[in-house]
C-alpha cells in the first residue's frame, strides 16, 4: 500500500497547509468538536467493528440455531406441518424414556472410545516417527494425510464392503487364519469396531500432522539436556515429548470428542438401510436425531431435544476430557512455563 501524506493527530484534511495549525477560529470550533467526536468513536468503536464479522457470523450460524433449536425442542414441531403446541420439557422426557435413545447413547460412546483413544495414541506415535530424520520426509508426511482426502462416505462404502459378513475381505482373511467369521453387521461390539476402524483410518493421519507440527516446535536443547542426563529414546518420548505436547493433546482430544460424539456418515453408510441395524446395533445419537426429525415421525421437536441433549453431553464430556488431559504428565507441568519461554 502506498504511503500517503502523513497527517496530524487531529486528522486534518488532505493537502492541509501549515496555516491549518494556527489557533482555530470560533467558526471552526464546532467542526473540530465534531472531528474529535468521530475520532473518539473511531478509536473506541472501530476495533469492535473489525472483529465483529466473526461474531456476527457466529451469531447467525451458531448462536441463533442453538437458541432456535432450544425453542423448537419445547414445542410439538412437525417437519412439514411446522410449529405446534408448547410442550415444555415434554419432548426431552419422551426422548430420554425411549429405549432407543439409550441404545444410541451406548453406541455413540462405544464408537467414540474405540476411535478416539487409539486414534490419539497412534497419531502421537506416528508423529514421533515422522519427526525422526527420515528419507523422503515430505512423502511420508503427505502419505499419512492421504486418507483424510477421501470423503467419509467413500471411506464408509469401501470399508463396509470389506466388512461384509459373508463376502467381505476381512472375514476371508480371518478365515484363512482359521478364525471364525466375525458378524460385523449383527454383533454390536463388532459393528462398533468396524465403524471405529473407518474413523481411525481417516483421522489418525490428520491428527498425526498436528502432533508433528507441535513436536517440531519443541526446542532441541531439551532433548540434548535429556540425552546428557542419559535418557534413551523411550524416556525422551515420555518425559520430554508428551509433556511438551500437552496443549496440543488437549486440542486434539477436544476436537475428536466433538467429532466422535457427532458421528453420522460412517454408521449411516455401514449397511444398505442406513438406520443402524435391525436391532439398532450401531445407531448413534445423530442417526437417532435424523430418524426422529426426517424419518417417519417427522418430529422436529423431539429431534431438537436430542440435539440439545447431545450438545450438553458433548460439553460435559469435553470438560471431563479437559480435566483428564490437564493431568497428563503433571510432573512436567511445573517446569512447563519456563520451557515455554525457552521455546519462544
Amino acid at each position: 500500500m502506498a504511503m500517503t501524506a502523513k497527517t496530524g493527530p487531529q486528522g486534518s484534511a488532505p493537502g492541509s497547509r501549515p496555516e491549518a495549525r494556527r489557533p482555530v477560529p470560533p467558526r471552526d470550533e464546532a467542526r473540530q468538536a465534531r472531528r474529535n467526536f468521530w475520532g473518539k468513536v473511531d478509536v473506541k468503536l472501530s476495533p469492535y467493528l473489525y472483529i465483529s464479522p466473526f461474531f456476527i457470523l457466529f451469531a447467525i450460524v451458531g448462536l441463533f440455531p442453538l437458541a432456535y433449536t432450544a425453542f423448537a425442542s419445547m414445542h410439538d414441531w412437525n417437519l412439514i406441518g411446522g410449529q405446534g403446541d408448547f410442550v415444555g420439557l415434554g419432548n426431552f422426557v419422551d426422548v430420554v424414556q425411549q429405549p432407543r435413545f439409550m441404545t444410541a447413547l451406548r453406541n455413540t460412546f462405544s464408537i467414540f472410545l474405540l476411535s478416539s483413544v487409539p486414534q490419539v495414541i497412534f497419531a502421537i506415535v506416528i508423529a514421533f516417527v515422522l519427526d525422526a530424520n527420515l528419507r523422503a520426509r515430505t512423502f511420508w508426511r503427505m502419505g499419512v494425510l492421504l486418507p483424510y482426502v477421501v470423503a467419509p462416505v467413500a471411506v464408509a462404502l469401501i470399508f463396509s464392503r470389506a466388512f461384509a459378513d459373508q463376502s467381505g475381505m476381512i472375514n476371508s482373511l480371518l478365515g484363512s487364519l482359521g478364525i471364525d467369521p466375525v458378524r460385523w453387521h449383527a454383533d454390536p461390539l463388532a459393528s462398533h469396531l468396524a465403524i471405529a476402524t473407518m474413523v481411525n483410518f481417516r483421522w489418525t493421519g490428520y491428527n498425526a500432522l498436528i502432533f508433528l507440527a507441535a513436536m517440531q516446535a519443541i526446542p532441541g536443547d531439551l532433548y540434548e539436556a535429556a540425552v546428557l542426563d542419559g535418557a534413551n529414546r523411550a524416556r525422551q518420548f515420555f518425559s520430554v515429548t508428551v509433556p511438551m505436547l500437552r496443549p496440543t493433546i488437549i486440542f486434539v482430544v477436544i476436537t475428536s470428542t466433538i467429532g466422535g460424539l457427532q458421528i453420522f456418515d460412517e454408521p449411516r453408510m455401514f449397511d444398505q438401510l442406513g438406520q443402524g441395524g435391525s436391532d439398532r446395533q450401531w445407531m448413534t445419537v445423530t442417526m437417532y436425531l435424523y430418524e426422529l426429525g426426517w424419518g417417519s415421525q417427522k418430529s422436529f421437536g423431539k429431534a431438537a431435544a436430542v440435539a440439545w441433549i447431545l450438545f450438553l453431553v458433548i460439553v460435559i464430556i469435553g470438560m471431563i476430557n479437559f480435566a483428564i488431559t490437564q493431568r497428563i504428565a503433571s510432573a512436567g507441568s511445573a517446569t512447563h512455563a519456563t520451557k515455554k519461554k525457552v521455546a519462544r
Binding site: 488532505p14 468521530w38 417437519l79 412439514i80 444398505q272 426426517w294
Partner: protein, 438 residues
Amino acid sequence: MRTIRKPWLMLTVGMASIATLAAGCSSSSTPAASGSASTSASAAAEDVTLTITTFNEFGYDDLYAKYEAANPGVKIEATKAATSNEARDKMMTGLAAGSGLTDVEAIEVDWLPELMQYPDKLVDLTNDDVKGRWLDWKAAQATTPDGKLIAYGTDIGPEGVCYRSDLFAAAGLPTDRAEVAKLLTGDWDTYFKVGKDFMSKSKVPWFDSAGGIYQGMVNQMPAAYENADGTAKPLADNTEVKDAYTALMTASVTDNLSAHLGQWSDDWTNAFQNDGFATMLCPGWMLGVIEGNAAGVTGWDIADVFPGGGGNWGGSFLTVPTQSTHPEEARKFAAWLTAPEQQIAAFKAKGTFPSQVDALKSQDLLGQTNAFFNNAPTGQILATRAAAVTVSPFKGANYFAINTTVTDAIARVDVDKTDDAAASWDKAVSDFTNLGLK
C-alpha cells in the same frame, strides 16, 4: 501504515461491509423471488418457464423439447436428482419451507403416505382429460380420502418371479417359464412348498431374502397396519401380519429356504455371482438390477406368476406443489408427460414400465423381449402381471414406522440370527409400543 483521515469514512465502510455481509445471508432468497415475479409479469405475454425435478431416470429427456415445440412460449427447465432419497429430502425441505420447489415435482410411491397428510401443499390435479387414464389401483394410490387426485402416475413395478432355470434343471424342476408359472401358481404356501422340494435336491437356497418376500406379502394386504381412518392397529393383536410373519419365518429359518441376505447389502449383490439363491420376486425395474449384478451368469428367466395373485413394488408420480407460480400450465405439462404416448416413449428410452391402461396395450410394449432373461417376452409378462394386481394397499401416515418394526424383526431372525422368531416378534411389539402411536 496509513493513518485514517476521515474516521467517519472508515466507520461507514466498516458498517457497509457488515451490512453487505448480513445482506449476503438473506440475498439467497431474493433472486428467486424477483425471478418468479419477472416471469409472472412476462407470463402475460404468454411466455412461461416451467421447471421440473425428476430423479434417477424417468426417460423424459427427449420429451421436453417436444413439448416446447408443440407449445410455443413455454420453456422447460429440468433438474434431475441422482437418487430418490435426494429428491425426497429436497421435496420435504421445500414443502416445509414453502418455497424452493419446481413447478412439477416427481415423487416415489413410498413418500405418498407422508404427502397425503398435507394435501393442501399439492395442487388437486383432478381433471376430465385424465379420467380413467391409469390402472385403478395406481390412481387410487394418489387419491386422498376425500377424492382429490394429488399426483399423476408415471411408472409401476408389477412383480413376477425370476428364477435360475439351470439350478431348477439340476434339482429336477421344470425349466420352461410357462411350466414354472404353472408350478408356482397358488398362494405363498405353494411357493414355499415348491421351495422345500427344490431344496431337498439342491444346496442352493430357494429365495434371496425374507425381507424381500415380506415386501411381496404385505403389499397384498388391503390394510396391513392401519384402519381406514388412519389409526394404527395394535401390532400385538394384528393376526394378519403375525400369521404372515410366522409363515415366513418358518419357511426362512426352520425350513431354511432363505439365503439369509438383506436386500441391497453387499452380500446380497455378491450372491448373484455365486449361485446365492434360485428365485426372487422381481418387479419390472428389478430385471436391470439382476442383469447388472449377475453379469456373466446364465440361466436367469422370468415366470408370469406371483404368489397370492398380483403384486406391485414401487412406481412414481408427478405432482404440482401449490407454491408453483403456474399451477395450471404445470398441470397441463404433467398431464402431457404422463399421457400413454409419452410414457411409451419413456419406456423405450429407459425401460420405465407405464401405468396407463392404453400404454399397456401398446405393441411397442407387448413386443419387448429381454435377451438376458432367455429372451423372455418381458413386456407381455409384466403387462399381465400389472393386470393381476387387485389390491391397492392402504398406507397411512404411520405405515413406514410400523412396517420398519416388522422388517427389523424379520432381519434379526433371517439375516442377523440374533433372535429367534418369537423373541424378535416380542421386540417388534415393544418397538411398536415405543412409537407411541394413537
